[in-house]
């Protein structure tokens, strides 16, 4: 039995240096901070070029493109500074997104310290970086809890390697919603895992879980299922404490997450007539269909539209104006999210093949289409930064690119954590059950990223749309690898136990199965 040969460590591994306690969580957070500061805040600044989507979020938040040649920088060069509207902003909100909160906060700080006319995106990057580093701290605190110092440090280095990658952090210097997704998703994962660990105050962790889920769900329309998935799988959290107040708060939180998820979904239905709807057909259904004309007929669309197969909304020159009344009347109005979902359900072969297409891009963190440097850096158009991006490069090159691998990865991960879950179930240790539920929720959130993007937008922009999956994959894989590191490669050495001061029942299940 594992419990019989324990390594005796403290709950919180650490090394005291000059009176300051250095923990793996601190090392990981500091490491990620250092790498991010070097990449985003020192020359040459790294960021992400606009793909034409920025205007939707920034104009409604009071910013505008003040560079006269901004158009020529699309896709190619990252732009650092934007104008701040000095008069009444007549741009109504084009997209409802929690991302606006962060942009508004950044503009406020920018006005306070820098300029009232010019907005420097580094203020936004600074806010995201601080939140991100906090999220990483919480995550590593949860993962390395009760781990020996050496192993904890190993996990911390791994965390810097994965989460310090500029493939992730470059999003902070852009107006893509992925930055919000990244911070909040890690917050959700860390707070849930900390609830499982019983590391901090449960109410505080529940609050972080709730707020992060709400922000994550409302950050992008495609994240509607996130709220629903987390809501359903977080219901057992009600049982981790006996006090009624906690149970009521947890139940209400789950209800709120579900409500926000549904509200975001209903918003999708209205907003679906846009770029993504075009791609859902031209880069989705028509791409995979053996006979696009038959597929179009099944939607009641003129078969001649087969010509649009594999076209993108961004094509500079096209047969038809993508916003034309003709397409509105004879094309867009004939299908929607539900009818495309129905189509894939009735054509499983095509679903399989588009899932494989999706899997090909499922491991790309940073889309290759957008350049990372400013024009002033003198790099070529669409030049990509390779600074601290070994992990994203390796991941993209080495991961098997079939959907079957994703299924296999899911099966193996669930299998690894299932024994401890079953034991927790038998002993009615509801807190011990949370780890598998969290992993399951993260997997489903990641999968929803794939499914929603292929149904909602075909294979267009898939690397960016599948960001949720790639992040979920990294979080879970990081958790699994950390568990292995924590337990040691040999089964003889195992996880440390809970401190004797705490009631034994609280930790018995934590030390079983794969370990912490």
């Amino acid at each position: 039995m594992i419990d019989n040969n324990l390594e005796h460590t403290t709950i919180r591994p650490g090394l005291t240096l000059a009176g300051f306690r250095v923990t793996p969580a601190f090392v990981a957070a500091f490491g990620v901070l250092l790498v991010t500061v070097i990449s985003l805040f020192t020359l040459p600044y790294i960021g992400m070029a606009d793909n034409g989507d920025f205007y939707r979020i920034i104009y409604s938040n009071g910013l505008y493109f003040d560079l006269p040649d901004y158009d020529s920088r699309y896709f190619g060069y990252f732009v650092k500074q934007f104008g701040i509207f000095q008069y009444y902003n007549e741009n109504s909100s084009m997209v409802v997104s929690s991302q606006s909160l962060f942009i508004k906060l950044a503009i406020f700080i920018n006005k306070l310290f820098f300029s009232k006319e010019v907005f420097d995106i580094r203020f936004q990057a600074g806010i995201y970086t601080l939140l991100y580093v906090t999220a990483i701290y919480l995550l590593i605190e949860a993962v390395t809890f009760k781990m020996s110092f050496k192993r904890g440090m190993l996990v911390a280095v791994l965390a810097i390697f994965i989460f310090g990658d500029t493939g992730y952090t470059a999003y902070f210097s852009s107006f893509f919603g992925e930055s919000v997704v990244m911070v909040t998703m890690i917050m959700v994962f860390a707070s849930w895992l900390l609830l499982y660990r019983k590391r901090y105050n449960d109410y505080a962790m529940l609050a972080i879980l709730l707020i992060s889920t709400l922000i994550l769900t409302t950050s992008k329309q495609q994240n509607a299922p996130v709220g629903m998935v987390i809501s359903l799988l977080s219901v057992p959290l009600i049982l981790i404490r006996r006090d009624k107040l906690f149970r009521w708060i947890t139940l209400l939180s789950a209800g709120l997450m579900m409500f926000v998820g549904i509200a975001t979904y209903l918003n999708i239905s209205k907003e679906f007539v846009n770029i993504n709807q075009y791609h859902a057909m031209t880069r989705g259904v028509l791409m995979e269909s053996e006979n696009p004309e038959t597929a179009l007929n099944s939607f009641g669309i003129n078969e001649q539209y087969a010509i649009l197969k594999s076209n993108t909304y961004y094509d500079q020159y096209g047969t038809v104006d993508v916003k034309s009344e003709m397409l509105q009347k004879d094309f867009y109005s004939r299908y929607g999210f539900v009818s495309i979902l129905k189509y894939y359900v009735t054509h499983p072969d095509q679903l399989g093949s588009i899932l494989d297409t999706a899997a090909e891009s499922a491991y790309k963190i940073k889309p290759a289409a957008m350049g990372n440097y400013e024009m002033s850096a003198g790099k070529e158009f669409r030049a990509q930064s390779h600074f601290f991006s070994l992990y994203s490069t390796l991941k993209e090159k080495l991961a098997p690119r079939t959907f079957a691998f994703i299924l296999l990865w899911m099966a193996v991960t669930i299998g690894v954590y299932m024994p401890s879950f079953v034991r927790s179930l038998r002993t009615r240790d509801y807190r011990g059950m949370q780890r598998l539920l969290l992993i399951l929720a993260t997997m489903l959130v990641g999968l929803s990223g794939i499914v929603v993007s292929i149904i909602g937008a075909g294979d267009a922009d898939i690397a960016k749309h599948e960001f949720l999956f790639t992040l979920a994959f990294d979080l879970i894989t990081f958790q699994v690898v950390s568990s292995v590191i924590g337990r040691g490669m040999s089964s003889r050495k195992s996880m440390p136990a809970a401190p004797p001061a705490l009631p034994a029942t609280d930790y018995t299940t934590l030390n079983r199965g794969v370990g912490a």
């Binding site: 053996e290 001649q304 010509i307 197969k309 500079q316 020159y317 158009f381």
Partner: protein, 518 residues
């Protein structure tokens, strides 16, 4: 060889005589060489005023006369540059602020080329030469007569006019109460004054009468019927029906067809080509409509030339031969669009600008040997004129209809053509040339040639067989072997499962017996 040539000529002549009667046109409608170089200066674009768009209207009118135009604001005029132009047009839309650019004023005073002033405050020298007495009409409306058109009522506000002039008058403005009667324009020698021009009403066409003389344009202008908004996803049967009905009525027309840049081997494209060949066989001339440009425009995207080249080749090889290009006027003021998009053609149909998305804007226009000024049918609909037939318009004009969406729309279009008594010319009677990387297409005097070979436009449409293989079948090997292997393993696995199942059952019974006995 000579005999064979004569034989072909006779056949062609006979063929021509069997075609529906069309107005005979001169072999080429190109402008007299050399092309006019015009400097078009403006004080303001008159945004938000009645004059808004008049500069763009002038640009399009000048293009229809194959004049090369350089557009500049007066404030941006550089000293000494006027002498490089054969004519100078100055548009003054602001009735309050005077011109302060001294370089312009000095050069204009010395300039000896053709001069046209449009709008408020004609220069003193011009007033003197033409004996002008400028005024501003504040009435609610006035009617205009010019060419064969009489008493066209127009809604005008704050209209500059010339109460008296001693030069050659063009047209006549008259108010309903006859309190005002003034010429539309006055000209003497190289100097012309045109007080009022508005985009979108008949004053544009009236200005064409003035410009024709001012530019000394001598070629006989033609009027064409243009059908646009033809997409591969349009009702192609209706298109063919329209072509047939026009053919039966003896009306030649231009079909402005939308380009397709990918999937050109699909059955859908083949059906599109079939429809276009049918149009061509029914006296329709094909022109390639410019593609839709999606903003934001990426200046690094230099794919237009290749795409247009490919589409023209696909059309040609599919038997539908394009003779020109159709685009919004601003395309001629964009370096990329005019060269990479329109550079294959020497003939163009120019539509009014909608939303403009320049890539590389130029101040000087690209010129086409033959350019057609597109106008909406509403402009001439029910217009009062001398006699029943539509008078000849002063420039190459294209009365432009959208392809109808249904049978009712088709009938409406035909009725409208019938009511107006138009005389439409056959586009391929004029001279056109299109060159791609592999093909040279020419038309003149009703004969279309592809790489020097005369094209037989007669065509009976065929049904497109849609057994097209959309997805490439992946190459497989050892199919039979794997299939046998599969079946073999299925049998082995099933047998193993049954065997294990049996052993488990036996084992379980033995186990129960052993412990039950205990």
């Amino acid at each position: 060889m000579r005999r064979r040539g004569i034989f072909i000529l006779v056949i062609l002549l006979l063929g021509g005589s069997l075609l529906p009667p069309v107005r005979a046109v001169s072999a080429a409608t190109a402008s007299p060489a050399p092309a006019q170089r015009i400097l078009l200066l403006f004080d303001s674009l008159g945004r938000g005023t009645d004059q808004e768009g008049n500069v763009a209207e002038l640009q399009r009118l000048l293009a229809a006369y194959s004049a090369q135009v350089t557009l500049k604001p007066i404030a941006g005029y550089e000293p000494g540059s006027m002498s490089a132009y054969t004519g100078v047009i100055t548009v003054v839309n602001n009735d309050e602020l005077g011109i302060t650019n001294q370089a312009y004023l000095q050069d204009a005073a010395k300039y000896r080329g053709a001069v046209l002033h449009v709008g408020y405050r004609p220069p003193a020298g011009m007033q003197q030469t033409l004996g002008l007495k400028p005024g501003v009409w504040h009435g609610a409306g006035a009617s205009l007569s010019i060419g064969g058109f009489t008493g066209i009522p127009l809604d005008v506000k704050k209209m500059p006019y010339t109460a008296a002039g001693s030069g050659r008058p063009y047209g006549l403005w008259s108010s309903a109460d006859e309190g005002m009667q003034a010429p539309f324009a006055v000209s003497r020698g190289r100097i012309t004054y045109l007080p009022y021009l508005k985009q979108g009403n008949f004053t544009g066409m009236a200005a064409a009468y003035v410009l024709k003389d001012w530019l000394k344009f001598t070629a006989e202008p033609q009027t064409y019927l243009v059908i646009k908004e033809i997409y591969p996803f349009s009702d192609l049967e209706l298109l063919e029906k329209l072509a047939d009905r026009l053919y039966q009525s003896g009306i030649p027309f231009i079909a402005s067809v939308r380009p397709v840049f990918g999937n050109t081997d699909f059955p859908a494209m083949k059906r599109y080509l079939e429809a276009l060949r049918t149009v061509q066989a029914h006296n329709g001339s094909i022109v390639v409509n410019a593609p839709a440009v999606r903003p934001p425009v990426n200046t690094k995207d230099r794919t237009l030339r290749g795409k247009m080249n490919h589409f023209i080749n696909v059309l040609t090889e599919g038997g539908a031969v394009p003779l020109g290009v159709a685009a919004e006027g601003y395309w001629t003021y964009d370096k990329e669009y005019s060269t990479a998009g329109m550079g294959f053609f020497n003939s163009a149909v120019l539509y009014p600008d909608g939303e403009t998305h320049y890539m590389e804007q130029m101040d000087t226009s690209a010129v086409f040997a033959s350019a057609v000024y597109s106008l909406p049918p509403e402009l001439l609909q029910g217009i009062s004129r001398d006699g029943k037939a539509m008078p000849q318009l002063p420039l190459n004009a294209g009365v432009t209809y959208d392809l109808p969406e249904n049978e009712d729309g088709l009938e409406e279009l035909l009725q409208s053509l019938k009511n107006e008594w138009y005389t439409f010319a056959d586009y391929k009677q004029a001279s056109h040339k299109v060159s791609t990387d592999i093909h040279t297409l020419e038309a003149a005097a009703g004969v279309v040639k592809v790489d020097g070979h005369t094209l037989d436009v007669d065509y009976i449409p065929k049904t497109v067989i849609d057994d097209y293989q959309y997805q490439e079948k992946q190459a497989t090997s050892f199919n039979t072997l794997f299939s046998v292997q599969n079946q073999f393993f299925i049998v082995v696995i099933l047998a193993a499962l049954i065997l294990f199942g049996g052993l488990l059952a036996i084992g379980y019974r033995l186990y129960r017996r052993k412990y039950l006995r205990k």
